[in-house]
Amino acid sequence: MKGCKALVIGGSAGSLDVLIKVLPELDTDLAFPIIIVIHRKKGTDSLLADLLSTKTQLLVKEVEEKEEILARTIYIVPSDYHLLIENDHTFSLDYSEKVNYSRPSIDVTFQSAAEVYGEQLVCLLLSGSNTDGVNGLITARNYGAEICVQDPSTAQVDFMPAQAIASVKVDHILSTEAIAAYINTLN
């Protein structure tokens, strides 16, 4: 796919290791933002952004509400908030009910990004042990987004990617090693 306007990556258990492997291999002139929604405990925000920023030359930062979404930047969703995207390409945070027992919920961000970016959105769902993200992929598919899922056989926890593959037509099933190269082709 060409003309990607945003890549949203969702993950739960076992996804952090994937990001640690993928980030160092990403081109540093990516013409789109990467938005990462990852389940984790409350209050570990800055640690995660700090950790990931050591793995890439791209700017890694935790989302600030109403912040403008820029290319060449990796945004981490803060713990305990849902992340929504406004039509003017700014972020909004939301402290409403958990979705799939999760806040942030991957579904919420996939759905919101799909409405804003449509066919120019790429969604990638990684390792995890629940079904958060699957409904979001279905919505994103309906809006014409490109759908990618980590190859369950290379995922630490295969349940989430396997559920996605069973529920939605997936454009690419990517092994952990293939993810970075794929993202670089979106540029």
């Binding site: 908030y81 039509n87 939301d94 009910e97 309906n142």
Partner: protein, 275 residues
């Protein structure tokens, strides 16, 4: 054509216009992504079949409109949420208010009251409750009715108790309530210092001067212009050397009031240093 969202951006604008005209509730400054999501949620929850019927019901049925306000505003809250925040109140903020003969606190967007009762507990433990009043306000009358009852699900008490201890609480948390079936009923001594009242941050004015204003996780639902307007309202309602507390991801930075405020190091608490 695949099924896309149940309510379009244009329909969101139509509803915002309707409720402003019919009821005087002004949602024009609300963040659209969140508002749209809440509208779709309500539409789905209530098994609405068409936008036209949904719209008609909101406009013509005032009972349903009350539900509309209750459901499109976010009312998720807990006691002693963000324990480190309450720790900062306990150790760095409230001791500085202890010398005042009378302490007025405004809790804006109090929802079902969990933060108001947390605040009352904190003031009691610092021996300040007897000379304090907490004005807890919300746009939504339904949640205020719940708040005034001071009863919360007993099942939540374990989490609240953990939050309380982490925030520096020194008492037995269960000493503040009595269990009644599935509910925890909080002491009337706490309730006596709470005043619950409707207040719409968008359209209502300042109603008193306070030493402490808390408004946490409300501004995130507003666009920048409305955020600045509400921060100005807080500024006009806060005494010099008073404190303003916002949510973990909210800030006074870039706003017209920022130069008069100095932030406490780690928490989202600012002190008004100039008039």
């Amino acid at each position: 054509m695949p099924t896309l969202s149940a309510i379009t951006d244009e329909q969101v604008e139509i509803l915002i216009g309707d409720v402003l005209e019919q009821y005087g509730y002004d949602f024009t400054g609300y963040s659209r992504a969140s508002l749209k999501r809440r509208l779709i949620r309500l539409y789905t929850l209530d098994k609405q079949v068409s936008f036209a019927e949904f719209r008609y019901k909101i406009c013509k049925d005032s009972v349903y409109f009350r539900r509309f306000v209750e459901q499109i505003t976010v009312n998720v809250t807990e006691m002693f949420r963000d324990p480190s925040f309450y720790k900062a109140l306990r150790h760095k903020v409230l001791p500085n208010l202890a010398t005042y003969p009378f302490i007025r606190v405004w809790l804006a967007g109090c929802s079902t009251g969990e933060e108001a009762y947390s605040m009352a507990i904190l003031l009691k433990e610092l021996n300040l409750l007897h000379k304090s009043l907490i004005y807890a306000t919300d746009i939504n009358p339904t949640v205020l009715e719940k708040a005034a009852q001071g009863m919360f699900p007993l099942g939540h008490m374990k989490q609240y108790s953990e939050n309380y201890i982490e925030s520096g609480g020194t008492q037995e948390f269960s000493s503040y309530y009595s269990a009644s079936y599935s509910l925890a009923k909080f002491d009337s001594e706490l309730k006596a210092k709470l005043i619950f009242s409707t207040h719409n941050l968008v359209s209502d004015h300042s109603f008193n001067e306070f030493q402490l204003i808390l408004c946490r996780n409300v501004l995130i639902y507003f666009d920048r212009d409305l955020q600045f307007k509400v921060l100005t309202l807080f500024d006009n309602s806060l005494e010099k050397l008073g404190y303003l507390a916002l949510g973990t991801k909210e800030t006074t930075d870039f706003s017209p009031i920022s130069k008069r405020y100095k932030r406490l190091e780690t928490e989202k608490i600012w002190r008004k240093i100039n008039e």
